[in-house]
């Protein structure tokens, strides 16, 4: 059995600095992206396009962001997080800046879709959180993942009004240039998270061996299935909740407040989950979160809807929103070790994105077919129960690996 050795000295890259920089990268990565919706109207109007052109660009971006993460993670695990983060930042910044100069749908799909999608993958949670997990002591890992996720959530919450202010002050094109500078700032910060896990920090494994090992673990598949549900829930609710609220006779403003409240509570929930994950069983916390989501959604759809019930629902769901991220990523690190965490969590995150795609698409599709969102809400409840169940049997003990016998 390979013995885990303590995290090696990081010279000037202290855990404190690593956490602060990792949080800043998560904040910038999530923050800049969360403001893209602001440009839907002005870009479409300036070029005389329907909104579908912009929406398709975002769809490409989302697919590449999700599909690119396992590859970005693999490169980070092999060659170091710093290079991937820096390369991702350059692509991200280029994509955001060049979106301002995209005058044809094809150009927009390359800039807003391909470049930003790949840039997002390179600078994503997966890479940043894996770097944090490798560089902080194991006893602080869950907390560090929690604060990293909370920072990303905070960026999402703060950047929308700032992006709106940029557009008002400088126009949408220059606002994009300013946002691209935020994305570019990730590149110099990446030097702090540079490096990969030394071979001595875990069993001597190649990437393919690590993938094969994970693929044979039932617990890994259960994590993948569970995170799929997370993606389904958050994407469906974020996209379709406003329409659902309007359908039930409430003011659209209530939908906006609900989304804002989700964002705010998300910061609290993510951090709290990280803290609790360091003290309690992560799998049971995940079971609780998904079970609680099912209960909260069931109560919401069964009770009469009022402004108060919407806001209570939004706050409750916000607490349960990305609180799954520090726990799921923490479980990957805990079970498999941090050596190939970026790759393994990247695959899990891809499942989240597939769930997210289905949540949005199925929400609209079933609404078209049935004339209401009721069926999707009940599917969401069922998926919540399913996820609560599948996390329960996860074996969260670190894998014991047998080292080859030496002569």
């Amino acid at each position: 059995m390979a013995t885990a050795v303590p995290t090696p000295a990081l010279t000037w890259r202290t855990p404190l600095l690593v956490i602060i920089v990792g949080c800043t990268i998560a904040l910038l990565n999530f923050g800049v992206r969360s403001g893209f919706g602001l440009f839907l109207e002005p870009i479409s109007a300036a070029n005389g396009w329907g909104r579908e052109v912009f929406a398709f660009g975002i769809a490409i971006q989302t697919v590449l962001w999700g599909a690119g993460q396992p590859f970005a993670g693999a490169i980070a695990d092999r060659y170091g997080s710093g290079r991937v983060l820096a390369g991702g930042a350059v692509l991200y910044a280029a994509g955001v800046a060049l979106t301002a100069y995209s005058t044809t749908p094809a150009m927009l799909h390359v800039t807003l879709g391909v470049l930003i999608g790949l840039g997002l993958a390179g600078t994503s949670f997966t890479v940043a959180l894996a770097a944090i997990a490798r560089m902080v002591p194991p006893e602080k890992r869950s907390w560090a993942l929690g604060i990293g996720t909370a920072a990303g959530s905070l960026g999402q919450f703060l950047m929308v009004p700032l992006g709106q202010a940029f557009i008002a002050a400088y126009g949408w094109a220059f606002a994009l240039i300013l946002l691209s500078l935020f994305a570019l700032a990730i590149a110099p910060l990446a030097t702090v998270l540079a490096g990969k896990a030394p071979e001595g920090t875990g069993a001597q494994q190649s990437l393919s061996e690590a993938l094969k090992e994970a693929g044979l673990q039932r617990s890994y598949w259960l994590l993948i299935f569970g995170f799929f549900v997370c993606g389904f829930h958050v994407s469906f609710i974020q996209t379709h909740l406003p329409a659902y609220i309007v359908d039930r006779g409430l003011d659209p403003a209530t939908g906006a407040w609900a989304l804002a409240l989700v964002g705010l509570a998300n910061v609290i929930g993510s951090y709290t989950a990280g803290v609790l994950g360091g003290k309690r069983s992560k799998k049971y916390l995940l079971s609780f979160i998904y079970g609680a989501r099912a209960v909260v959604i069931a109560v919401f759809v069964m009770l009469p809807m009022t402004e108060i019930s919407v806001l209570i629902f939004a706050f409750s769901m916000g607490l349960l929103w990305l609180s799954t991220v520090p726990l799921t990523s923490g479980l990957v690190a805990q079970i498999f070790g941090p050596r190939y965490m970026a790759t393994l969590f990247g695959i899990v995150f891809f499942s989240h994105q597939v769930g997210g795609f289905l949540g949005v698409w199925l929400g609209g599709r079933l609404f078209d077919m049935t004339g209401s969102y009721d069926l999707v809400w009940w599917i969401s409840i069922g998926l919540g129960v399913f996820a609560a169940i599948v996390h329960w049997p996860i074996d969260e003990r670190p894998l014991v690996r047998v080292a080859p016998a030496t002569a």
Binding site: L16, I20, C23, R33, G37, L40, E41, P42, A45, R51, E52, F54, A55, I58, A59, Q61, T62, W65, G66, W143, I147, A150, A151, L154, Q156, L158, V160, P161, L162, Q164, A165, F166, A168, A169, G231, V234, S235, Q238, T239, H240, P242, A243, V246, P252, A253, A256, L259, A260, V275, G278, W321, L322, H352, G356, F357, G359, V360, W361, G364, D368
Partner: protein, 123 residues
């Protein structure tokens, strides 16, 4: 762990302060000149009620385009020169160029685009 909580709090406060400074600076840059007109967003003091804000706006003979999520922020329009100056005289503390904004500008954590159906229904 107490030091961890302090670090988290310190980080979030620092981010909030930086954000507030950037937001304030940007808003000051975004203010329209007094002689501007057209469709604008007028911000009234936060202690004002919606009725008081609307009444102040109507005294400038503005057209109310729409109310916003906050009662003291209104989208107004007028083609008369000096419209912004009149709004400020009637108590507006900030006047900005109106921008299109829908619920879908708040994209989800996956950045998923809204479907065409949703776009049609919520504009």
């Amino acid at each position: 762990m107490a030091s961890g909580h302090k670090l988290a709090l310190g980080f979030f406060i620092a981010v909030a302060l930086l954000w507030a400074a950037a937001f304030g600076l940007t808003l000051s840059q975004a203010e329209l000149p007094p002689d501007a007109s057209g469709r604008v967003i007028a911000v009234y003091p936060f202690r004002w009620s919606g009725a008081a804000s609307t009444a102040a706006a109507m005294r400038t003979e503005a057209r109310l385009v729409r109310e916003t999520w906050l009662p003291n922020i209104l989208e107004l329009a007028s083609d008369e020169p000096g419209f912004v100056a009149r709004l400020q005289q009637e108590g507006a503390i900030g006047v900005y160029r109106a921008q299109p904004f829908t619920l879908f500008t708040l994209s989800g954590c996956t950045g998923m685009p809204p479907g065409p159906l949703s776009l049609r229904r919520l504009g």
